[in-house]
C-alpha cells in the first residue's frame, strides 16, 4: 500500500514537470516579448536589452527553465544589481502587471475559488446522488422519466445563462440576496454563505444533472449484478441491499469523475466567477491572459494541473481503500 502511494506521488511529480515544461515551451515559442510591453512607448533598443537582462530573458532557454524550476522548489532572486528582487519559496515569478509574486496573487484568490467549488460540490453530490439513486430504484416509472427529463434540461443550460437569470431574478427583481461579493469565511461565516449561495446553486445545477444521470446508470447496472440477488436471497432488508451492497459498488465510477471535476474546478471556475464577478483563480486567469501576463498564466496553469493530478491520485488511493482487488494486485 505504501509502495502504491509512493508510485502514485512520483507519477504526480512527473506529470507536473511535464506540464511545466509544456507551458514553458509554449510561452518561449510565443512571438510576444514581455520586455517590449514593460518598456512602454518611449522604448529604445538599449532599454529592451536592459529589461531582458533584468528579466533573465537573455539567458539560454534551458537556463531560464532551470531557474524557474529552482524558484518553485526553493525561491530565487530575480533580476540583477540594484533591481534584484527576492522571490520567496514557492516562486512562480513576478506578475508583470501587479508587480507582485504570482504565488501571492494565487494565494489571495484561492479561497474564493475553493469556497465556490467546495460548496457547489456538496450540493451537487447530495442532489445528484439522491436524484440518480431515486430514479434507479424506480426505473421506468413516471418519476424516473420526469427526473431524467429535468436533468437533461439542467445539463443543457449553460452557466452563463442560468447565472445571469439567477442574478436578474433573485437579486435584481426579488431582491432576496445581495449581489455576490466574496466575504472571508473566518470573518463572517453567514455572510460567506449568503454571498455564495447563488453561485453554488448555479454551478451545482449543471453538475447535479450530470451526476444524477451517471449515478442512475451506475446504480441500475449494479442492482442487476448477481451479488445483489445474493444479498436479497440472504433476506437482507431492501435498504441494506441498496445502500450496503448496491451503493458501495455504484459509487466507484462516481468517485472517479468527482475527483477530476473537483480538481478542474479548483483550477478556476472561470465562467461562474465571471458571471458573478467573484475574484477567484478563474478571474485571475482571464485577466492574465488578456494582459499577456505570462508568469501568472503559467502559474495558474500549473496550479490547475496540480489540482487535477492531485485529485486523480487521491481517487486512486481511495480506490485502493474501497476495492480490495486493487489493493492486492
Amino acid at each position: 500500500m505504501a509502495g502504491f502511494a509512493l508510485r502514485r506521488v512520483a507519477g504526480l511529480v512527473l506529470v507536473l514537470l511535464t506540464v511545466c515544461a509544456a507551458t514553458f515551451a509554449i510561452f518561449y515559442l510565443l512571438p510576444s516579448d514581455p520586455a517590449l510591453q514593460a518598456c512602454g512607448k518611449s522604448c529604445t533598443t538599449e532599454r529592451i536589452a536592459e529589461l531582458h537582462r533584468q528579466m533573465g530573458l537573455d539567458k539560454p532557454v534551458w537556463q531560464q527553465f532551470a531557474d524557474y524550476l529552482g524558484g518553485i522548489v526553493g525561491g530565487r532572486t530575480i533580476g540583477t544589481g540594484d533591481l534584484a528582487v527576492r522571490c520567496g519559496f514557492p516562486c512562480f515569478g513576478f506578475s508583470y502587471q501587479a508587480d507582485r509574486p504570482v504565488w501571492d496573487l494565487m494565494v489571495d484568490r484561492l479561497p474564493t475559488t475553493a469556497s465556490i467549488a467546495a460548496g457547489a460540490a456538496v450540493l451537487w453530490l447530495v442532489i445528484g446522488l439522491s436524484v440518480g439513486i431515486g430514479s434507479a430504484l424506480r426505473k421506468g416509472s413516471g418519476l424516473d422519466r420526469s427526473l431524467m427529463a429535468a436533468t437533461l434540461t439542467a445539463a443543457s443550460l449553460p452557466v452563463f445563462f442560468t447565472g445571469l437569470m439567477a442574478l436578474y431574478l433573485v437579486v435584481q427583481v426579488a431582491g432576496l440576496l445581495p449581489f455576490p461579493t466574496y466575504v472571508d469565511f473566518g470573518d463572517d461565516p453567514l455572510g460567506w454563505a449568503r454571498n455564495l449561495i447563488l453561485p453554488w446553486i448555479v454551478l451545482a445545477l449543471l453538475y447535479a444533472a450530470m451526476y444524477a444521470r451517471l449515478s442512475r446508470s451506475s446504480m441500475i447496472e449494479t442492482l442487476s449484478e448477481p451479488y445483489i440477488r445474493t444479498a436479497r436471497a440472504k433476506g437482507l432488508p431492501e435498504r441494506v441491499v441498496v445502500i450496503k451492497h448496491g451503493l458501495r459498488s455504484a459509487l466507484t465510477p462516481i468517485v472517479t469523475v468527482f475527483g477530476m471535476d473537483l480538481g478542474t474546478l479548483l483550477g478556476g471556475a472561470i465562467i461562474t466567477e465571471s458571471v458573478f464577478g467573484l475574484p477567484g483563480i478563474g478571474q485571475l486567469t482571464i485577466d492574465a491572459i488578456n494582459k499577456s501576463d505570462q508568469p501568472v498564466v503559467m502559474g495558474v496553469a500549473l496550479l490547475a494541473a496540480f489540482f487535477i493530478t492531485l485529485f486523480t491520485v487521491l481517487v486512486d488511493l481511495l480506490y485502493a481503500v474501497v476495492d480490495p482487488r486493487v489493493r492486492v494486485s
Binding site: 440477488r229 445474493t230 436479497r232 440472504k234 480490495p324
Partner: protein, 323 residues
C-alpha cells in the same frame, strides 16, 4: 407434510411484446432429506421457478401456491417472505464469483445474514462464519474470514456460497446450476459437499440443472421441464431407466455419454424450443416430437401432468395416465 409444496405455480412477465408466461402450472412436493432435480434447457422455466420459491421475483406476476413448511409464500407480505429468505430457505447460485460481493470480506458476507436473522452480535456472527467455512471444507477458516472473494479459487468460492447458505441453518437449500461454472474435477467435489451437508442437516435440496449427469449422480427425484411446464416427474432411477415422455427420451438419446457408442451418430431433437410469447397450441413439444400421432390430439389439447398421479408420471397423450 412435505417441507416444500408447490401447486399450480404460474410466473408471468410483462414484456414489450406481450405477456410471457415463463412457468405455467408447475406442481411438486419435496420432503426433508430428499433431493429433487428440476431439469430443463434454457427457457424451460426451471430457474424462474426457483426464484419464485425464494420470493425473489420483483417484476413478475407469481400465482398459485408455494408453501414452505406450511407457510404460504405467494401473496404473503414482502417482509414476511424476506424473513424466511436465508433463514428457512437458502440459495446457491451458478457463478460464485459474480454472486459474491467483490468489496466485502467473505467473513462479513457470511456473518451479516446470521446477525440479521438471529440478532447475533459481531463476535458471535464471526465465530459462526468461521464454523460454517470449516464445515464446507475450507482450511484455516478463521484466517480466511478476512479475505475477499477474488482471493479464493473457483471451487473455494462455491464452498463460500454454500457456507453462506448454511449459516442460518435453513431447511430448504435451492441450488441453481451449482456446478455449471466449475471445472469437472471441482464439480465432483461440490456435489459431494452438497450431499454431505444435506445428510448432516437433513436438508431438502432442490437442484436446478441442465446436466442429466449431475441429476443421475445427485437426485432422488427428477422433474423434467419443457417450455414452462413439467413433462415428466418421478424417481430418478425409473425416469432414466424407463423415460415415459418423448422429450425425456429425446434428451437421453441426444446426449453424448462416456459409456455410449462413440461411432453411432447422436439422435438430435429436431428444431428449437418454442417462444413462450406465442407457444404452440396443444402439446408444447408436439412440433418437435418424433412420436406424435395424428389420431391423438397432440396439436390440439395440452396434456397435463396428472395431479395426483402415479409416482412416475408424464404429460403425454400417448400415455394412459394423461388421458
Amino acid at each position: 407434510m412435505s417441507l416444500l409444496e408447490v401447486r399450480d405455480l404460474r410466473v408471468t412477465f410483462t414484456t414489450g411484446r406481450g405477456a410471457l408466461r415463463a412457468v405455467d402450472g408447475l406442481s411438486f412436493t419435496l420432503d426433508r432429506g430428499r433431493t429433487l432435480s428440476i431439469v430443463g434447457e434454457s427457457g424451460s422455466g426451471k430457474s424462474v421457478s426457483s426464484l419464485a420459491i425464494m420470493g425473489l421475483h420483483r417484476d413478475a406476476a407469481v400465482e398459485g401456491s408455494i408453501e414452505v413448511d406450511g407457510v404460504q409464500v405467494v401473496g404473503a407480505p414482502a417482509d414476511q417472505v424476506r424473513r424466511m429468505r436465508g433463514r428457512r430457505m437458502a440459495m446457491v447460485f451458478q457463478d460464485p464469483l459474480s454472486s459474491l460481493h467483490p468489496a466485502y470480506a467473505v467473513g462479513e458476507q457470511i456473518a451479516e445474514a446470521y446477525r440479521l436473522h438471529f440478532g447475533a452480535g459481531r463476535r458471535a456472527a464471526r465465530l459462526r462464519a468461521a464454523e460454517v467455512l470449516g464445515e464446507v471444507g475450507i482450511p484455516d477458516p478463521k484466517r480466511r474470514l478476512a479475505e475477499y472473494p477474488h482471493q479464493f479459487s473457483g471451487g473455494m468460492r462455491q464452498r463460500v456460497m454454500i457456507a453462506m447458505a448454511l449459516a442460518c441453518e435453513p431447511e430448504l437449500l435451492i441450488a441453481d446450476e451449482p456446478t455449471t461454472a466449475l471445472d469437472v474435477t471441482v464439480q465432483a467435489q461440490i456435489l459431494e459437499l452438497i450431499a454431505r451437508v444435506q445428510q448432516d442437516h437433513g436438508l431438502a435440496v432442490l437442484m436446478i440443472t441442465h446436466d442429466l449427469g449431475v441429476v443421475a449422480r445427485a437426485a432422488d427425484e427428477v422433474l423434467i421441464m419443457y417450455a414452462g411446464a413439467a413433462v415428466e416427474h418421478g424417481p430418478a432411477l425409473t425416469v432414466f431407466a424407463e423415460p415415459r415422455h418423448p422429450y425425456t427420451r429425446g434428451l437421453l438419446n441426444c446426449l453424448p455419454r462416456l459409456d455410449g457408442d462413440a461411432e453411432a451418430a447422436l439422435i438430435p431433437i429436431p428444431g428449437n424450443p418454442p417462444s413462450l410469447l406465442s407457444p404452440p397450441d396443444g402439446c408444447r413439444f408436439h412440433p418437435r416430437c418424433a412420436e406424435r400421432q395424428e389420431r391423438l390430439p397432440c396439436a390440439v389439447s395440452r396434456p397435463l401432468l396428472p395431479q395426483p398421479g402415479p409416482a412416475h408420471r408424464a404429460a403425454c397423450h400417448l400415455l394412459e395416465e394423461t388421458r
